[in-house]
Symmetry: C2
């Protein structure tokens, strides 16, 4: 079992946010495994964390139902996701926590540490450099780079801040494949280009800009304002809906609208918009 799957030999190297990249013509799935769906890839880290939490709590075995609950998904999705990796469970029993944890870590590629460079040591870069979750989750910050002359040599989280001039050397020395961009928006593209030229092929972008990168380079974007705006959109909808319900109630009479499950948010705070 677990061998005969590889439905489509398609590869799709960049699944993240490189939408306009070339379609990758030939390149059949020669090496590696069976093309895990991008949506599944995005959830594997969540499962990994849930498994680590279970292991820390002393749990040695769990069902798909339990793990799914811990990861915040439904069990069918979890089982389908895991099925892309292989048959790591035991029917009628469940999954061995430690074994599954290792398998997922191996699949993601975090059984060893990835060296990472952080560029832009402002408030955010500072926070990232100090984030202790890195080490335990497969990453090691090997250098901090910043443009400001004044800050060169300053120690942050046990590392000295170095200038952009050192970028190429750092990437080469440590074999850095992943770069974190935490610069202001107007410097981001420039920094990105330089990282890519130095050999970095994955970038995590915190700057509020769209980064253009050549095919073969993955970019993922983390944008605070965008996340808040998405929440604001839904929040506005809720407020409108609550208002509509009131209007409906008044106009169409007491029609017993079957609202349930949508607790009209405390009217006292729908003051905005």
């Amino acid at each position: 079992m677990s061998a005969g799957r590889r439905t489509a030999p398609q590869v799709r190297a960049s699944g993240a946010s490189t939408p306009e990249s070339a379609p990758l013509p030939g390149t059949g799935g020669a090496a590696g495994g069976a093309a895990i769906p991008e949506a599944t890839v995005a959830r594997l880290p969540v499962y990994l964390r849930a498994l680590t939490a279970l292991a820390d709590a002393g749990t040695t075995t769990c069902s798909s139902e339990e793990l799914a609950a811990a990861a915040g998904v439904n069990s069918a999705k979890l089982r389908k996701d895991l099925s892309y990796l292989g048959s790591y469970g035991t029917r009628g029993v469940g999954y061995d926590v430690e074994y599954l944890r290792y398998q997922i870590a191996r699949e993601i590629g975090v059984t060893q540490d990835w060296p990472v460079v952080i560029v832009g040591i402002g408030n955010l870069g500072h926070a990232l450099a100090n984030y202790s979750g890195f080490r335990s989750r497969g990453f090691r910050v090997v250098a901090l780079l910043d443009a400001a002359e004044a800050r060169q040599g300053e120690q942050v989280a046990g590392l000295p801040i170095r200038g952009f001039d050192d970028l190429e050397a750092v990437v080469a020395e440590h074999g850095v494949a992943i770069g974190v961009v935490a610069t202001p928006a107007d410097a981001a593209q420039q920094v990105c280009d330089r990282l890519v030229a130095a050999g970095v092929t994955s970038i995590l972008n915190f700057a509020p800009t769209v980064l253009a990168v050549p095919a073969g380079v993955d970019v993922r974007k983390v944008d605070l304002s965008i996340e808040l705006q998405i929440l604001a959109f839904h929040e506005q909808r809720k407020a409108q809906q609550a208002l509509g319900q009131i209007v409906d109630g008044a106009a169409a009479g007491p029609a017993e609208v079957e609202v349930e499950a949508v607790p009209v948010p405390d009217a006292g705070k729908a003051v905005i918009a």
Copy 2:
């Protein structure tokens, strides 16, 4: 135009990360507009930012092609997305930058400011409090809360740090609907529960935990480690593929494999995994 669409009268109040929420039985699309797809909602803020950039650059009109390029999507997707909002373009011409910008801002709900509370003023909370992009993008930080007694009263970004005890008062006073959780993982659920109890119905979670919330509350998660792990997965694939190519080349002879578009990453850094 723009009126006769509402294909499905379904509402789907929480599109973000509340996967296990009840299916919302009745509740026809009485109030508000025509149910914009979640994927589109997630891109509207990107368009908004691109339009703002264009406006700042003095551009008054743009085609779907230009705007799409600025937003990092393809033009078909952009046009489809905008079509859910209405017909705001002119055929044969394009879009009026300022007009479209306002329409999207209105749709998202950021024509007025949303009051926001940040809970957990560690390294990250500090950075978030100092982030200036808030004000300009529809949000206003009204309070900073932290558990540490020692830090009470300390000024961060012009605001005093207050204790958790003030949470309910702050939410009520400012009509806060959106809360940002930047606490350590083990405090996050507790803080979340308290925010929700106080009336907050949208939460942006930076803590590396899955938050459980009642139906009607939206949670969005920003998780650094997960983003990096997703990049690591693809990075590993690239390395495996590059390796496979080499093996193929050696075993199957010089078959002219048509690699292009996938620049084999500098071999010097494929040292991991």
